[in-house]
Amino acid sequence: MIEKLNLENISLAVGIIVILIGLWGLLTQKNLIKIVIGFALFDTGIHIVMVSIGYIKGRTAPILDSAVDVNNASQIVVDPIPQALVLTAIVIGLGITALMLSYVLKMYQKRKSLEINNYKDLKW
């Protein structure tokens, strides 16, 4: 058990926990802004998970500067792909969050309410 408590496992676990907390917020909060925050948490949790997947113990960032030997880079750097992916994912998350917030803003403007239960006109 103990040996599993290495950095990547911990960060993975943290990521998953953040995901779940995000979902919890998303599913239980009644305030629209809080729901958006829940979503952002959910998103962030995923990003943490992504990053922890690419981690290799004891290696350095995938930048071939003076600290890294170009020819031996593959033995020294961590996986650059999850980092690239997480970059994209963050931007996507940003876009969605921005959209959500603008929707919330507009909804609030129309009805002066942030209570999610007030937006159930469409159903069945």
Partner: protein, 1045 residues
């Protein structure tokens, strides 16, 4: 050839470029956007063309100059090119459709629009998992943006729901992707497939997450409340895109990634797809908002396509054909319907009656609705056919049942909706305008449906065998619909006549008999059409559609042709029936029973096809498995058309409410299609039994009970046409009984009764139709004494009822006589007694019909009624002539039929000596009887006339009335509830048990649907919860069961 990468370049370039024109002329910007869409369409179409005609190889496009897996690569293969073309064509037309909106809303939305289609294109082409995720997100966000085209509160809140839902789904997808990346060390889909993740610890669940996320993108039932809200609130043009384009892309992703999943993923997809198909359609039936209804239907249809993909193990190499057929129909039809929704702008489906103000729109709507349900000649018809055939062939019976069930449920609300459009009240509804840009795409898509229908028919393996000539004739008649009735009527009669002339030499045996009933009968009935004035819009194409179907039945050599014709006939007759004034609910029940019956037939054919390579109708003769089941399915299917007891409730209303000259078509002619089907079935399959139970004996009982009940119901009707309709039910009962006897005489009776029924029912329906035409009511007790006003019609009816009641000397007796002999031959006395009892009950309604309408007291308001229109009388008197001929010379009818039957039933044939028929039991000389009866009659009449030649003519109130006198014709005409004492005794037999049963069924389904749809409570959070629950439930199902094994 232009590389597919330019799709991205052009789209994005345009999108970014449009930013310069924020304030510039928006029409110009739109033009630019349209150009981009057109170019994208061009590129994809060009590739498709290459794949289709030039044996183009699948092409990999590498970005950044590196090979995958190191860089993102795109793939352009045959399938990709098809999907891209579909998506881009849809995009192009959506753009045209949304012209006004996009222009008014500004450049931003145009950018979003272009980007959306770019995203969908890349989603289809990309071979990189993460790239797929990115562009999926692009298209999702773009759709959320497009929802705002309607800047209403509804749309905004539904957009928010969509955001939440898609956020969660994409989160799940991302978790899956990153886990997959960890296990396979690559994001290249080919690598992922190669690394067989389902066998890796954790990989199973990772792929499961991807799978479930992709499925969730397709809005599976029940985790799809958000999607429905979007469909309902978004602009219909956007709804079309969501329903068609993004769903198409979604389907393709699933298709693309399938090999990466465990084999049992097929089952999961199939289960989800089927569940969605059935569930979503079920909920749809309670829906009355048009766009939301379309949403339910869209989800259902996509579920079906999903199910087809999931059923690949069953369907083998036919999967693509089926999936494409269904998907294509769904896309074209659903987009078309959404677009119509945008034109009509009626939210409630009841208000769609406004669409009638432009009949061409109605034609479009009909095309789309019928295409969705899978009627010929649309691609979905062929796809569904193949689907059911393959499922049966590979023992997927449960799937088969569920898919047919789902299709049927979809039919319920689609046809209800269509019924409202055709028949609803449209007086107080607002006008709508039609812009060319909105209608053009719908028209093109409708044409596309027909074109692809034709194309699919060439792919089914029996290409070219279909007889498209009648269909062209329909189109022709539609084209000349602006002409007055008499021209179109002449052309129609000429057309039918010419066709009969051309096929006549090829017809033989029972096909000849039914061919004559269908076509010669059709011509005869069409004669009555001259009585109509004006244009009678739409009547002729629809009539010919029905006759084309009937003709197809006659000509069918294969099961597919047969089914094709069957469905065509159903559609045509449905349209004819729904033309009646109050026929909306009846047409609905007609089409539902027909569709249900057709599905049973389909299932029957499918089971019969197991292990047989040919499509010929002869497969029924050497069925390998389930013979009794097949027989039952087909028999029940055909009996929905013959309206046997239990399946009859559609008939009375449908026939009664139809127009005067339509009633004879649907009653006298159409019902024979069922008889024809039964004949084919019985000839091919011979005796069948469940264990010791002889199915034919059951059939005989069904026929007998139908006869009794039909006639009994007829006796208690107040509505003249309804009475005739029930009488048809009863008479068809005799026919079924006769067929069930499976002997020479039984069949002779059945077929000759069919001919006779055709004659007198045409006669009576035309005659009564003429009366109704004049007096404008169908309630018999409101008429009376019309003999003085309509003597010619009276004679028709008189002869008609003498034929019905089987009283000698007219030809109806022949049928009874043969039936007696057949029964004695066979020995099934109890059903036979019921049949004869029914024959006696026929007197009740016969008398009532003639008495209440023609005899008794003439009503005030009918004092100036004229004789029925000349052209309605013409066919009647032609038929009367034929009846007299057959009565006097029975062997002119019976002998040829007997000879037809000889090869099938050599024993027990009648022996003919001139006009004397001799059976094993008795004999009958129709000619002699005719002469004797006429002789006696004339003699007595001459004598009486001589005796009382000076009789004083009196008027209707000159009756002995206990020293009083009548005061009103209404109170003197004994007509209402005529057989009250009889009803007192036997009325319990006619309690509408069966109608109540079907009502309960229908209400039950509606109640269930209503209960279930409460889960869509409009709360975005709950929708999110549904999604997560969906994942959990299917996780439990998959991993509690079989996934990954």
């Amino acid at each position: 050839m232009v590389g597919p990468i330019y799709i991205i370049a052009i789209a994005l370039g345009t999108a970014f470029f449009l930013g310069f024109f924020k304030k510039a002329n928006r029409t110009f910007s739109f033009g630019l956007m349209l150009l981009a869409m057109a170019f994208m369409t061009f590129i994809s179409a060009q590739w498709l063309y290459a794949f289709l005609t030039q044996n183009q190889e699948t092409v990999q496009i590498f970005t950044a100059g590196f090979k995958p897996p190191f860089s993102i690569s795109l793939q352009m293969g045959f399938h990709e090119s098809i999907f891209l073309t579909i998506i881009n064509v849809l995009g192009l037309f959506s753009a045209i459709y949304l012209f006004g909106h996009l222009r008014d809303k500004g450049v931003n939305m145009m950018m979003v629009f272009v980007v959306l289609f770019m995203g969908l294109n890349v989603v289809v082409m990309t071979r990189d998992l993460f790239n797929l995720f990115v562009f999926l997100e692009i298209s999702t966000i773009a759709i959320i943006g497009l929802i705002l085209l309607e800047k209403k509160e509804d749309a905004i809140s539904s957009g928010f729901k969509y955001l939440i839902a898609s956020g969660i789904i994409s989160g799940l997808l991302l978790i899956g992707i990153i886990a997959v990346y960890y296990y396979s060390e690559s994001l290249f889909i080919n690598d992922i497939i190669a690394s067989k993740l389902m066998y890796v610890k954790g990989g199973t669940i990772a792929t499961f997450l991807i799978l479930i996320a992709l499925v969730l993108e397709l809005k599976p039932f029940p985790a799809n409340g958000w999607a429905l809200d979007v469909y309902e609130s978004a602009h219909p043009g956007v709804g079309a895109i969501v329903s068609s384009a993004s769903a198409t892309a979604g389907i393709f992703i699933l298709f693309k990634l399938l090999p990466a999943f465990s084999d049992s993923a097929y089952y999961i997809i199939a289960v989800i797809g089927t569940l969605t198909f059935v569930g979503s359609n079920l909920l749809g039936i309670k829906q009355n908002k048009a766009t939301r209804l379309l949403g339910y239907s869209s989800i259902g249809q996509i579920g079906l396509v999903m199910a087809v993909i999931g059923l690949t193990p069953y369907l083998g190499d036919k999967t693509m054909f089926i999936a494409f057929g269904l998907l294509l129909t769904h896309i074209l039809a659903k987009a078309g319907l959404f677009w119509l929704a945008g034109i009509v702008k009626s939210k409630n489906i009841r208000d769609w009656a406004v669409i009638r103000r432009n009949p061409h729109l109605l034609v479009l709507m009909g095309t789309f609705v019928f295409a969705l349900i899978g009627f010929p000649p649309f691609p979905s018809f062929f796809a569904k056919w193949e689907l059911i055939m393959q499922l049966a062939n590979s023992s997927g019976m449960v799937w088969l049942a569920f898919i047919l069930l789902g299709s049927f449920i979809e039919g319920i609300y689609m046809f209800r909706w269509f019924g409202y459009a055709v028949k609803g009240e449209n007086k107080d509804l607002p006008e709508f305008k039609i812009h060319w840009n909105k209608i053009l795409p719908a028209i093109l898509f409708a044409i596309g449906l027909y074109a692809f229908g034709y194309y699919s028919s060439t792919l089914t393996g029996i290409a070219g065998k279909f007889n498209y000539l009648p269909l062209l004739f329909i189109v022709f008649l539609y084209a000349i619909d602006f002409l007055p009735v008499y021209i179109k009527n002449t052309i129609s009669i000429a057309g039918v006549g010419y066709y009969l002339y051309t096929i006549y030499p090829g017809l033989e045996e029972y096909r000849l008999v039914f061919g004559l009933i269908f076509l010669a009968g059709g011509m005869l009935t069409l004669l009555a059409g001259y009585a109509y004035k004006g244009k009678r819009q739409g009547f002729y194409p629809l009539t010919i559609m029905m006759f084309a179907g009937l003709l197809g039945l006659i000509e069918a050599k294969t099961t597919l042709e047969f089914f094709f014709a069957w469905e065509l006939m159903t559609a045509g007759s449905y349209f004819l029936i729904i033309r009646g004034k109050k026929s909306m609910p009846h047409a609905l029940s007609y089409i539902l029973f027909s569709v249900g019956g057709a599905y049973l037939i389909l299932a029957g054919f499918a089971l019969a096809h197991i292990d047989q390579n040919t499509f010929s109708l002869d497969i029924l003769s050497n069925v390998q498995y389930y013979a009794p089941v097949i027989f039952t399915l087909l028999a029940v299917g055909f009996m929905t058309k013959t309206a046997s007891i239990g399946l009859h409730i559609w008939l009375p209303g449908a026939h009664a409410e139809a127009e005067s000259d339509v009633s004879p078509m649907v009653s006298a002619i159409l019902l024979k299609a069922g008889v024809f089907g039964l004949i084919i079935l019985m000839l091919h399959m011979g005796f069948q039994s469940f264990g010791n139970v002889d199915i034919y004996y059951i059939l005989a009982w069904i026929g007998a009970i139908t006869a009794v009940m039909g006639n009994m119901m007829a006796a208690f009707q107040e509505d003249a046409k309804r009475l005739l309709a029930y009488s048809s039910i009863g008479f068809l009962g005799y026919t079924v009984f006769g067929l069930a006897l499976m002997s020479h005489l039984g069949w002779l009776a059945a077929i000759s009764l069919s001919v006779i029924h055709f004659m007198f029912k045409t006669l009576l329906f035309l005659a009564i139709g003429g009366v109704v035409w004049r007096v404008k009511t169908k309630e018999m007790y409101k008429m009376g004494g019309l003999i003085k006003k309509m003597p010619f019609t009276f004679i028709s009816v008189l002869m008609g009822i003498i034929v019905i009641s089987g009283v000698p000397p007219l030809t109806g007796f022949g049928g009874k006589w043969i039936l007696y002999n057949a029964v004695l031959d066979k020995g099934w006395f109890f059903p036979a007694a019921a049949v004869f009892f029914a024959g006696i009950i026929a007197f009740l309604y016969c008398f009532r019909l003639i008495h209440t309408i023609f005899l008794g007291q003439l009503k005030d308001e009918h004092r100036e009624v004229k004789e029925a229109p000349f052209w309605m009388l013409v066919p009647q008197y032609i038929i009367l002539g034929v009846i007299m001929l057959f009565s006097a010379l029975p062997n002119s009818l019976l002998k040829p039929i007997g000879e037809i039957l000889l090869p099938y039933f050599p024993d027990g044939a009648l022996e003919w000596q001139g006009q004397l028929a001799i059976s094993a039991f008795g004999y009958w000389n129709g000619k002699l009887i005719m002469f004797i009866v006429v002789g006696i009659f004339v003699t007595v009449f001459a004598w009486l006339w001589y005796m009382n030649r000076n009789a004083q003519k009196v008027k209707q109130f000159n009756i002995g009335y206990s020293a009083e006198r009548p005061s009103l014709p209404e109170t003197t005409h004994f007509a209402y509830n005529f057989f009250a004492p009889y009803k007192k005794v036997l009325g319990f037999l006619v309690t509408p048990v069966i109608s109540n049963f079907w009502d309960d069924v229908s209400e039950g389904i509606h109640a269930v649907a209503d209960k279930i749809r409460r889960i869509y409570d409009g709360n975005a959070q709950n929708y999110a919860l549904h999604i997560i629950m969906f994942v959990v439930v299917f996780y439990l199902i998959a991993f509690g069961g079989f996934y990954g094994i």
